[in-house]
């Protein structure tokens, strides 16, 4: 099967055209046009990308299989965990959000749940204290901010 490279090639040509077209819309820089304006380099890139993508469509490599079914779900879970980790880092604080994120990742990767969340909690506390005391960097405490010492 050679769908991957073909589809990717088509997408890249679309990108090249959109990118090149956007370059033609740049306003002329203050002080008048020069030999090489802000649009020259992008236009060059668009042309090179379009040509090489065309080659990919004409002579694609064989496909690597995409992970469907379970592995695919695990991958989506991992990405969702990472997004939630970023989202909750400030509201929940570093220690709680890290325990949840690292714990969930370890668990989904095959560790037993108790071990997984213990790993998460221990690594969170160690890194937190390393950062706040040894390295003097503030990580958010979030829900645990009542513990804050003055």
């Amino acid at each position: 099967m050679t769908f991957n490279d073909r589809i990717f090639g088509v997408l890249m040509i679309v990108l090249a055209v959109a990118y090149g077209w956007a370059a033609t819309q740049f306003p002329e820089p203050f002080g008048g046009a020069e030999a090489v304006g802000p649009d020259t380099f992008p236009k060059l890139l668009a042309v090179v990308l379009a040509i090489s993508s065309l080659y990919l469509i004409v002579r694609p490599d064989p496909d690597n299989a995409w992970p469907w079914s379970r592995t695919g779900v695990e991958l989506i879970i991992a990405v969702v965990v990472l997004i939630f980790y970023a989202m909750l880092l400030q509201p929940l604080g570093f220690i709680i959000s890290t325990t949840l994120a690292v714990g969930t990742l370890c668990w989904r990767m095959g560790a037993r749940p108790t071990n997984a969340y213990m790993t998460g909690a221990v690594s969170a506390v160690v890194v937190y204290f390393l950062f706040s005391f040894a390295l003097d960097l503030a990580l958010p405490l979030g829900l645990l901010s009542f513990l804050e010492m003055n």
Binding site: L49, A86, M109
Partner: protein, 509 residues
């Protein structure tokens, strides 16, 4: 003579107690990073960069620490090759061939010690080579004009896939993607390009975020897919019984390997993997029937290790003198230089002489530290190897999060990093190499600047780009870099593939 003076100053910098401490820390972390499968050198250095920033290290200290990490990672790659038959990083795959059989025969600790000595010799030779060659090359590079630089950057991209690269067109596509991302932001004439009015994009894409996302996050996703973490049976490490004779036996091999590796490291398009491959093959040829390669010959362990460590120091030559890295890890080191506001290239040898020579001296000192770390303390690394990846990778990911968050304390950067991670995963699935993307991000602004300068000089005449003999030469080599893989590549690849176990590591050296 002048060089010697600079080098002495360099030792003055590198021997300051706190620099020495960070060199030791870097060497330790580097060995660990190299040893752990699934955490390659480029990846490891990338994760540590944001931490070096948030620690507020002085430029030379940060650079010394991360160069030690780089050197250490090359030492560490061999540990899992020998004990588990899994290369810790790509250049270490040739070490599996004789290292694992030695371990199976109950000579694991001899194999580890021999490879440490060979690594040391290889690195030492290459560092001396670096000291001799770098100032010459830097002087020569001072004659480059903008047109030559533009062609040089093209050469860097064209040879990045290496002559063993599979599909050079994919390197071109990857480079374009990287260069395109580099154009995002306000350019130097004040025009907004591709910002879509998003405030966070006005200053462009921070390449540190992109690098950490592309390497660290995509590695996590890849690992989840492969589930290779079931844990392999561990090799028992016996008590070391190494005589001077054993070391003397591998000396000639290590010297040859180190020199070959250095040459492979300096040349564009070769790199550490090829360096270790050539050293191993040559050694097999030279020794002929006297060796028992493939069945646990100590020289079969020494040759590739000397080769790959020689190449990794050699690879610093183009990075330091021309500002053009030839491999993934040196590209990451270049990222560090740029973010420390040091303009890489020939001028660095005059303007930032203390930093350059401090780093070179640190490389020499780091080698001795690594030898000390790697012979008596190898047991610690062996123990750490048994940490299963299912615990290790989530923690590494968390450290990447902390590092990126600590740069600017914004959540936007974290989302951005995850997006780059997913993008990196997709690209790797399509066998689009990630290193050209990163190099494009790093070199994009310089490349455009040189193009503009060249055109300003010629008043808009494109012919200036291939007006001088030097520029033409660079263009020819760039062309060869793209064409040769189609001709020589299949042969070399067959040679390398026929003998090595499949490598799990996605990134090149």
């Amino acid at each position: 003579m002048e060089t010697l003076g600079y080098l002495m100053d360099g030792f003055g910098v590198a021997l300051q107690p706190h620099n020495l401490m960070f060199a030791l820390l870097g060497a330790f972390l580097g060995t660990l990073i190299g040893a752990l499968p699934g955490l390659g050198p480029a990846n490891g250095v990338a994760i540590l960069i944001p931490l070096a920033f948030s620690l507020g290290l002085a430029p030379e200290t940060a650079l010394i620490m991360l160069t030690s990490v780089y050197a250490g990672a090359m030492y560490g790659g061999r540990i899992s090759s020998i004990l588990l038959n899994i290369p810790g990083d790509e250049p270490a795959m040739m070490t599996c061939l004789d290292g694992y059989p030695m371990a199976q025969k109950g000579k694991a600790s001899e194999a580890l010690a021999i490879s440490a000595v060979a690594s040391f010799i290889g690195s030492l030779i290459a560092t001396i080579g670096l000291i001799l060659l770098a100032p010459l090359l830097a002087n020569f590079a001072l004659t480059f004009g903008p047109a030559e630089y533009f062609a040089l950057f093209l050469l860097a991209f064209a040879t990045l896939g290496g002559i063993t690269g599979k599909n050079p067109i994919k390197t071109v596509v990857a480079a374009c993607i990287g260069l395109m991302i580099a154009t995002v932001g306000i350019d130097n004439t004040g025009v907004q390009r591709y910002t879509f009015g998003v405030l966070e994009l006005f200053e462009g894409v921070d390449f540190i975020i992109a690098i950490v996302g592309l390497f660290a996050i995509s590695e996590l996703l890849f690992f989840i897919e492969e589930r290779a973490g079931g844990g392999k049976e561990k090799m028992k490490v016996n008590k070391l019984s190494l005589s001077w004779k054993d070391i003397r036996d591998i000396l000639p091999t290590s010297f040859r390997g180190g020199v070959l590796g250095f040459v492979a490291g300096v040349l564009p398009g070769a790199g550490a993997s090829l360096g270790s491959f050539i050293s191993y093959t040559l050694e097999k040829r030279v020794l002929g029937k006297k060796g028992y390669f493939g069945q646990g010959d100590p020289r079969g362990v020494a040759a590739p290790e000397a080769g790959n460590n020689g190449a990794s120091s050699g690879a610093l030559v183009p990075m330091l003198t021309l500002g053009v890295p030839g491999s993934g890890t040196t590209a990451v080191l270049l990222a560090l230089l740029i973010s420390l506001n040091i303009t890489p290239g020939p001028l660095m040898f005059t303007q930032n002489a203390d930093i350059v020579w401090g780093v070179i001296a640190a490389l020499l000192i780091g080698n001795f530290l690594l030898l000390i770390l790697n012979i008596p303390l190898v047991g610690i690394f062996v123990k750490l190897l048994s940490v299963p990846p299912m615990y290790l990778l989530p923690i590494v990911t968390m450290i990447a999060f902390v590092g990126i968050y600590s740069i600017s304390n914004t959540i936007f950067d974290l989302y951005f990093m995850v997006a780059f991670g997913v993008g990196g995963y997709v690209l790797r699935k399509l066998e689009i190499p990630l290193v050209p993307v990163i190099l494009g991000l790093l070199l994009g602004p310089e490349m455009e600047k040189n193009l503009r300068h060249a055109m300003d000089i010629s008043d808009g005449d494109w012919m200036i780009l291939w007006d001088s003999g030097l520029a033409i030469g660079l263009w020819v080599f760039a062309g060869l870099g793209l064409i040769l893989p189609y001709i020589v590549g299949p042969l070399l690849r067959r040679g390398m593939k026929g003998k090595t176990p499949s490598s799990g590591s996605p990134e090149s050296d």
